[in-house]
Symmetry: C2
Subunit: 209 residues, 2 copies
């Protein structure tokens, strides 16, 4: 089957890109060719789609939400070039991936993706992150998870209190799709923004003063 | 004169540490010896004192404020160890140093230190940061600078709108101490927290719902 052609605006890609979800892209005359046969949106990694959504929010002055960089532990610097790091390791993140501000409210969330066909495995979430989210909630922030169920091409927003309770109840090691659908909010896929997750907060009147 | 002995709680130091302010410490039997003759608080770098203050806020469930890691651009990974980075560079930060939540409010600030005896040089602040702070303000967040005037051992909180206006008026390349004292709020130095800067927000009733 032929590869699908599509364009992504403001996307700087040189040569070849391999996303964590396994999709590979090739750059040809400023057009991106997906080397897998799936449509444009699905080809992009979930994290990348969320980053694009946040870029859109920032450019449109809707919200200011950034991805926290993965902490890196620096071991060694170059002897002669003080800006060059020659040995470093990824460190464990003790917080969530994203935080920022929307309509005066503090926003804090984690984006996760699963290829499972039945449930979302809780080992995707660390105890540090659960503690962090509990603190956010106790201080009056809005905290949630965005979960991509790849097998059925759906994305849900689940509020942190639900996930925290499920995690702490310790009854199951994963959240069944039925529970996600019952307690979560489906985020429909769009073009720009790709996943308009902040709309859920508006719909629920969480951002009213 | 003899070196001053002091302890810092929860402080992991091995061998020798040189802070950006030029102070050097040596670790001896879990005690830190300042190799310069100044008292404990002044010996610690300003950034470190703010980090300690934030740790105190987090542990006491008062606020959740983190330092954003300096972004690092990774160029090369180890061939055989996928968690080992073998070439990387510091990238320019386009936001402020700190953000988080306090009493449901989104907090965003930058901590700066100057050795000048008369004024705070504006070249310490990037245009990116000014733009970032303007966005925070437009979205209803609380944004400010914490500025340490090392020469007179004083720390001031200055709200972002004042700094942004001063920066954009382009009349001067630095903010005179007299202006800082007139428009800023003095943060007295304590033991724990070292710089209780959130008190200013309470005193001004900025955190009331």
């Amino acid at each position: 089957m032929p590869a699908t052609l599509f364009k992504i605006l403001n996307y700087n890609v040189i040569k070849m890109i391999k996303y964590p979800d396994g999709t590979t892209y090739k750059n040809t005359n400023n057009k991106l060719i997906s080397l897998r046969n799936n449509h444009a949106n699905r080809g992009m990694s979930f994290e990348d789609a969320i980053n694009k959504t946040n870029e859109y929010y920032i450019k449109s002055n809707i919200a200011l939400i950034y991805k926290r960089p993965t902490p890196i532990k620096i071991i060694r610097m170059d002897r002669y070039n003080t800006s060059k790091i020659t040995e470093a390791y990824f460190a464990e993140k003790s917080t969530t991936d994203y935080n920022g501000i929307y309509k005066s409210k503090y926003i804090d969330f984690e984006a996760k993706s699963t290829i499972s066909k039945t449930s979302f495995p809780l080992n995707n979430i660390s105890t540090h992150q659960i503690k962090h989210l509990e603190k956010v909630l106790s201080l009056g922030g809005i905290a949630f998870f965005l979960i991509e169920l790849k097998s059925i091409h759906e994305v849900y927003l689940l509020f942190a209190d639900f996930i925290v309770n499920f995690y702490k109840s310790n009854k199951r090691k994963s959240i069944p799709f039925s529970e996600i659908k019952k307690n979560g909010y489906l985020i429909k896929e769009g073009y720009l923004p790709r996943y308009n997750y902040l709309k859920v907060l508006d719909d629920l009147h969480l951002t009213k003063q």
